[in-house]
Symmetry: C5
Subunit: 311 residues, 5 copies
């Protein structure tokens, strides 16, 4: 649940976020991350990413609030005209729609995914594309969903290793959607618990993520099921965000918007997460589940906010 | 269930279907799709495909209504003399019967399949041929069955990825038989529900299908088990078809005939699906479960219909 | 159960069987099939094959009726002196015993198998040799057991695909032991039902078998469990054989002898199956579960029968 | 259970064992088998092998009776000084201890194994080394454990096929530890039943073993659970041994000593098995679970026995 | 439980540990082990290793006692300034933090791992990096976790074999974290029982470990569940350590510190294990779960101890 409130946001970033120039990276990763961070979008080292992978993950039901968004052209146009740092989508939507936007908006090729039709008890997200596909499409990063704590984590680690090695080979940055999932995490506080998100941040970092997409941790009735000391830990929205950002080490962090919330809550979420050290935001449904003009206007508001946090 | 009715069909296509010239495709895919759409069959950008993979999928029991059809020569002759845009079959029927029809009727090599002897609870369709086999046979597309929402979707995605990459390499178009299957979808409204077919259309599109074969969605007593908003959605035959066609994005859509229905219902199904944006029809049992002369006559009726929808 | 009776057999083959010259085959397959059909054994386009894979499939218990047959030398000598079209065995028996029979009797290298110690509920027959092994041994075909309808059919299809591709590469004919197996088929009439055998014939044909080994279908108390229309179908021995031969399309069919039966029943089985379109017989236990002289005499009787069916 | 008794052993081998010169083998296999049979150990075509793989299969508990044997140096020294035909061990013990014994005692590199901590219900023995490792170490054979009748026999067959193909490539002889195992065989008389051992002998032979290690079959209360005709078969120690040796065809047979028994029983076991056609013995715990001097003395007694059985 | 006591430690090592010069190793392994043993850290043939893989194995909860340690920079600085023989961590922490410490502290690249979110009943630790990664990072060894006795031991053996072969190829030493795990070992005395640790030591040795990381065995209420003779064996801390060190053969042994204990207990553990033949210590949480100055001071105390045990 996003906070509401009336915080003033003149203050600079409360927590220093990783700076590209401080990181030890291969030339190819540096080139592509520089493009994402400084050549597109806000252009000041922050990130605003538009994801359109929900058609695979949730099915077309996410397009009912704004039927125009069912046409992938909608998101490509929004990403380009809104001036996002990148659009994130699967191969089909990239290969068949990017022609007229090629070079105008960077691509994060999402290379694994699954439907949500079967249960998540043993979640695993198989590849839908390769790193070489990303190279061929001129992408500036790949996106990989890691199901942290799933009973199938072994397959996930091995699949990720292959991807990570290919990314090393090609100098392709890795954005990990680091998602706690599976029957085991549900017994230890749940997928959105602080314990779960904190672990997810650290795991993705140790495995080699350049950028980590996280959900903001949420308090719940299951908090007491978390392992010590999380089960009794005192924390609030800000400190929860800060904690998981720190657990990501010198990997950059993106926070997702999740399902649609009010504009003010969304702006607050954006502000707080950036203040607490996140590098950027990845907002999908909150943007494209509204008409184009509204989406562009809200995009501009968020970009205004991000402009106040240069690095 | 196909609608009956007395609609007049002078009206042009209600929903614009994807036009080959508008799509961003590799040269090889463009060559082969051009052949399928404009050089064979009706030749006006519509598709009429004759499938003969039921011997694997259902066994010889489908040949009882017309024992002559048990000899694969029957379908090859029907496809060639009837002037279909393509015949779709597995390797054995292609390699051993196409000699005298080579070049007279395009081949869509079906490259995966399974028997229906075990239950579909964990459906997965293993390869029976490779994309290289399709190239060697001079095929103009491959056919791949994707079991959308099956608990084994991970294996399916990975197998499809291999196929899709090979098709990129060779410029081979992909026709996805996008079929909701498995115990999970049965708990969410069933394989023929609007939710299921709609998801199947979108998934195949995002994964990289060039053409998607769908079943027309059907209302049933299990509709309330579908996720929101499908569980309460108002829709009729036309709008259901249109919805799933839209979910396929700029992939072309073929509708199947399914088990045998009356000629008038079949003609209506053909008319409505084309009007609602489908590119073509893939009718098997409805064609070859009758004597050759009747099958040829019905083929001609359908082609007459398709002639009224040039693109 | 084989019929008894006093049919006269002057009549030509009731059902035309596939003729090598009519088939579209690669040169290598044509060379090797020509050898099997016309250069060895009866030499008139029929086949008489001696299998000795029961040591893997059933264990040494099959050798108790004729302990001399436990020595693989027995079967090699019988195949060579009896003038069989081929012997079928696994790698160990080929590599270690064929030296003195090399070139005198063609080899069908059986390349997969299993013990019958675990249950057949999820039957799958793993490789024991490769197609390249067959080439290296100078074999004229490989033998592959396909467990039709097994819950593990996916693994079987994929393994068979590899084999089939290698056979394409080397011009090696494929003999498929097409056996319905597994818990699912047992619930639908059983492995020897007409439904099961008919499906097995068609499946092997569509997957690319050159020759298909079948068991003669058997009526049983479980016939009503078969899918429609098999569950109520009227048929007799002759028509059952003819039906499954037709389902094999232009693949040739071999019928097995199964466990030992009377000489007259065996001769009747041979006659009827050939009359109904089978290309040949694969008789193992019925031949080598008796002393060498008796086996040679019976072999000669069967060859006499086959001589009356030239193609 | 080994027999006791006072048989005189002047008689030549009761059952002729396979002679190297009679076998059709590749040059590499012939070279290495000649070394094992005639250049080391007794040197008369018999085999005496010292296995030290129990540290993996059973853990260090086998070393309690003679703690000195915990140091692998013990077995290497015993093998070299005792003049064994070969030592059989895993990669770690070969790579790290054979330096000073290199060329003095042949190596059979055991290339698969497992701990006995989990149950044997679904036994499978994974690779611990490759055939190329054996070549690199100058080994004269590899050892492979095949779990006959295990529910995982399919994986075992496929793994063995890879090994067998590599052995063909390099001319490396194969010693199969052919062990009935798994829940299925336990329901059919058990792992040491005549049925089980007889099947194991034949299976290893058909799959391509050059030498087969067997346990002597044992009568038990579960004998009636064996398939016909084993369930009612009359047999004694000698005839049981002879039967399984015959089932191994022209593969050579080694009998194991198993857990420690009295010296006289061990000598009797040695005598009878050799008389009944075994080529040699593989005695581990019976040798190294005693002080070095005793072990060397017993080794000499067994070698004296073997000297009476030249081939 | 670590012993307390007032032993004087003038005595030389009670049990001789393996000396690098006595081992038969490839040049590459010798070079790298020489660096680890003699060129860094204490430099006298002992080892003091700082592990930081707990972020994957346990999650960030291990950083609560000393939040500064959450930043991987903490451990790298401690390893370098404290003069450890090596730091052990996963790829992410190596690739992104070692730049300024490159060449100052050797790297043991931990190449497999898992979260502890799912149960350990079927423990398996998948790869997170390759041996080639270790080479590329200039590492002097790789670390591999082997789950001894897990029901998935077959996958573990096969994965380890691949690693071991790559290490042979590149001359890369192997440190095996040899950990008894899984439901089967829990029924036989538990993961920390003498039986379990003793087996783990021997198994890693036979599979080809150069260095084996063990936990000190612990007595428990489940000791009677161990197999004979462990279930009734008399042993104390010293003899338990000595026993498992001996079971490791001529592989070197490291003992872990485990969770945090008192400084005096830690020093005693260090002294006793080294006296009983261990080559070194791998202490993580006991070191970095305290402020840097304290960690450096304790490091120096342990190094002082190790200086008394040159080899």
């Amino acid at each position: 649940m996003a906070p509401n409130g009336t915080t003033t946001v003149e203050a600079p970033t409360a927590v220093a976020r990783p700076r590209l120039e401080d990181l030890d990276l291969s030339p190819g990763k540096r080139v592509r991350l520089h493009r994402l961070l400084y050549e597109y979008g806000v252009g000041n080292g922050t990130l605003l990413v538009l994801p359109i992978d929900q058609g695979i993950e949730h099915g077309p039901l996410n397009f009912f609030p704004n039927p125009a968004a069912k046409d992938p052209e909608f998101q490509w146009r929004l990403a380009a005209e809104g001036g996002y740092n990148a659009i994130a989508c699967h191969w089909g939507l990239a290969r068949r729609y990017m022609e007229k936007y090629a070079g105008r908006v960077p691509l994060i090729l999402k290379i694994n995914g699954k439907t949500n039709i079967p249960s998540d008890a043993h979640a695993f997200s198989p590849l839908t594309a390769t790193v070489a596909d990303a190279v061929a499409l001129g992408a500036d990063a790949i996106g990989y969903t890691l199901y942290v704590g799933s009973p199938r984590q072994d397959e996930d680690f091995l699949q990720f290793l292959e991807v990570r090695e290919q990314c090393e080979k090609y100098g392709m940055p890795i954005v990990v959607w680091s998602y706690p999932r599976g029957e085991a995490i549900e017994r230890k506080g749940g997928r959105d618990s602080l314990y779960a998100v904190d672990y997810a941040a650290r795991l993705a970092h140790e495995l080699g993520a350049d950028i980590i997409k996280l959900n903001v941790p949420v308090k719940s009735a299951k908090d007491a099921d978390q392992p010590k000391p999380y089960n009794t830990l005192e924390w609030d929205y800000e400190s929860g965000v800060r904690r998981v950002v720190e657990s990501a080490g010198n990997s950059m962090v993106l926070f997702s918007g999740g399902s649609k919330i009010s504009d003010e809550d969304l702006m607050e979420k954006a502000r707080i997460t950036i203040e607490q050290g996140a590098t950027g935001l990845i907002f999908g449904r909150n943007m494209w589940q509204r008409p184009m003009d509204e989406a562009l206007a809200l995009t501009e508001r968020i970009k205004d906010l991000l402009r106040r946090f240069p690095s």
